[in-house]
Symmetry: C2
């Protein structure tokens, strides 16, 4: 992290000074946001709506690497990832709280950059930043975010409503964020070896990088579903990978599923990179994660409606539980789906 | 941290296994908790109430030291500290989310212990644990908690409502949690020098240790205020120290204040320890922090009502802003109050 002369040590501001600086010109836009930062709690007012709450903890060295992640992008992503969880319930994100643990390595300008990303995401998605907590850290950057959202009564979509014969749909494309990460990791090792500053050339790969560094939440899909009069029977966002998310839906709905390799949406840049890296493209799409696309199921009767939706693909169907969870490959073979999950506990402590 | 043969490596469970284990027998008790853990979001349903949200991030090495903090106590404290913030708004805590970052040093039994404290606090205070996030960490334990609460419309008490001539009241006693911390820190250094395990003798000091390790939130005070028909004009919980909290109220209410040294409630164990440590007792009470008592202001007309409340002391009054913020000492001198705030950014990164 480059420190230049214009930068200010956080200690010169102190906690309250830093909070004042970060929050002084925040404007609340939602009627339900009665009180934002500046008190013990944020105060929200909901009428007859359902209130949604989601929270995420992001740790430097585990969830992000600041060598190749600009702080503004990181802030944007932290917010969007939480919004995505609210959309995945068929809700609308309304308020966000962000807590930071910040080590001495970071200056006020760094935190400004992080916050500018958070606030940009809030602005774009119409969410109010209503509170948080800022603290010193002995070991790098720690970000905890909580999002509150709302949904009309009876409109919330859970993971447990999928039924036999339902269609399985997914938005956008899968595996591109993972490929973006592979690309960044490779460039970083090259950069490390050369002892030079990190200025890799990424021409023609912008889409992959954007998917990794600046993902978007699929508000448009939730809005399109509402417009088409479709209420999914189950829904989840793809954060750990398609395979893992499908297992959540099937386990909680007590069903099986069958998806088709040939129907999994994959961007051509993802395919090119997979070849370049000599990686299995389907593995990247199934287990890559961080796509923040929406995976959902709808009754067969909604087939025409979802087939007509832009950016949504039908990739398979829900089956009886005893049929298990399978993917049919392009050559007609059956592949049992496995949860990749998260194995980060394997890594070493410093 | 002692590891014995019965303990299980977290990696043997994996993320979903750990979450299942931690959450499998949670029962929701509040009607407003529609959906707890197990989906992208918790779902809450509020009628015509105001919804309160508060969040805290606690980091090992900054906010707690596991040498002398039992994990169960730590879990209890994390929860209670958040409840305290909701009470400080004159609200009732209803739901809690907890996110953990856990390094390889911790076993499943450690996390069980932490959660048992969180769940005990939730049980005692009638709060539902409705979600969270669990992740690996490269550097010790990280805990982020968010509490959602409710308040009747119009009953929320902010920091900015104090008026000239209002009475300043505080519950319980101050400085004892800080003295408990001093005691623990001293015993730890003794223990470090002796190279033996940490088994200090704390006879007669139990109150101080309990205040530091297992604080309670003042639900009883909020209930007593409601019963007496008193709505404070401003309120805050004492987490950073009386002086700092008074400055928040005065700054946001645009007032001054005058408190009286002789009226600040101090427990005799705190006084004895201050003498033993050769520390200024009033400094401990003013700036010690972590008391989690309620500091609030009421109109003069409520004098009789608050004077009759058990465990509440009137320590001074609100003044015009131009009169500044002062404490009158026992010998009649005037001492200007200063914010201590949080200077932890000064410390070194590893």
């Amino acid at each position: 992290m480059i420190q230049n002369e214009q930068e200010t040590e956080i200690s010169t501001l102190g906690e309250f000074g830093l909070i004042d600086r970060l929050t002084k010109d925040i404007k609340l836009v939602n009627e339900s946001s009665v009180k934002g930062v500046g008190d013990d709690c944020a105060v929200l007012r909901y009428g007859e709506k359902e209130t949604l709450v989601t929270t995420d903890l992001l740790l430097e060295g585990i969830h992000f690497d600041l060598t190749y992640t600009p702080l503004k992008h990181l802030g944007y992503k932290v917010a969007v990832v939480n919004f995505s969880d609210v959309y995945a319930m068929n809700g609308i994100p309304r308020q966000l709280t962000v807590s930071l643990g910040v080590s001495k390595r970071f200056t006020v300008e760094h935190i400004d950059a992080l916050y500018s990303g958070i606030r940009l995401a809030c602005e774009i998605y119409g969410v109010d930043l209503v509170g948080g907590d800022t603290s010193a850290s002995v070991t790098g950057l720690i970000i905890s975010a909580t999002c509150i959202g709302e949904a009309e009564k009876g409109k919330v979509v859970y993971r447990n409503g999928a039924k036999d014969t339902d269609l399985i749909c997914v938005s956008g494309d899968l595996g591109s964020a993972y490929m973006g990460l592979q690309l960044l990791e490779r460039e970083r090792s090259v950069s490390k070896d050369s002892q030079e500053e990190f200025h890799p050339a990424f021409e023609g790969r912008e889409y992959l990088l954007e998917r990794q560094l600046k993902p978007e939440a699929r508000r448009d899909v939730v809005e399109a579903l509402a417009k088409a009069g479709v209420k999914p029977t189950s829904m989840i966002d793809v954060s750990d990978g398609l395979s893992s998310e499908l297992m959540h839906i099937c386990k909680q709905s007590n069903t099986g599923c069958r998806i088709y390799e040939g129907r999994i949406p994959i961007d051509y840049q993802t395919a090119i990179m997979a070849e370049e890296f000599n990686m299995n493209l389907v593995t990247a799409a199934l287990n890559g994660g961080e796509d923040y696309e929406l995976l959902f199921t709808v009754p067969l009767t909604d087939h025409e409606k979802v087939a007509a939706m832009e950016g949504v693909k039908i990739i398979g169907r829900i089956t009886k539980p005893e049929l298990g969870m399978y993917m049919e490959t392009r050559d007609g073979a059956e592949l049992q789906l496995r949860a990749q999950g998260w194995q980060a506990f394997e890594q070493e402590e410093d």
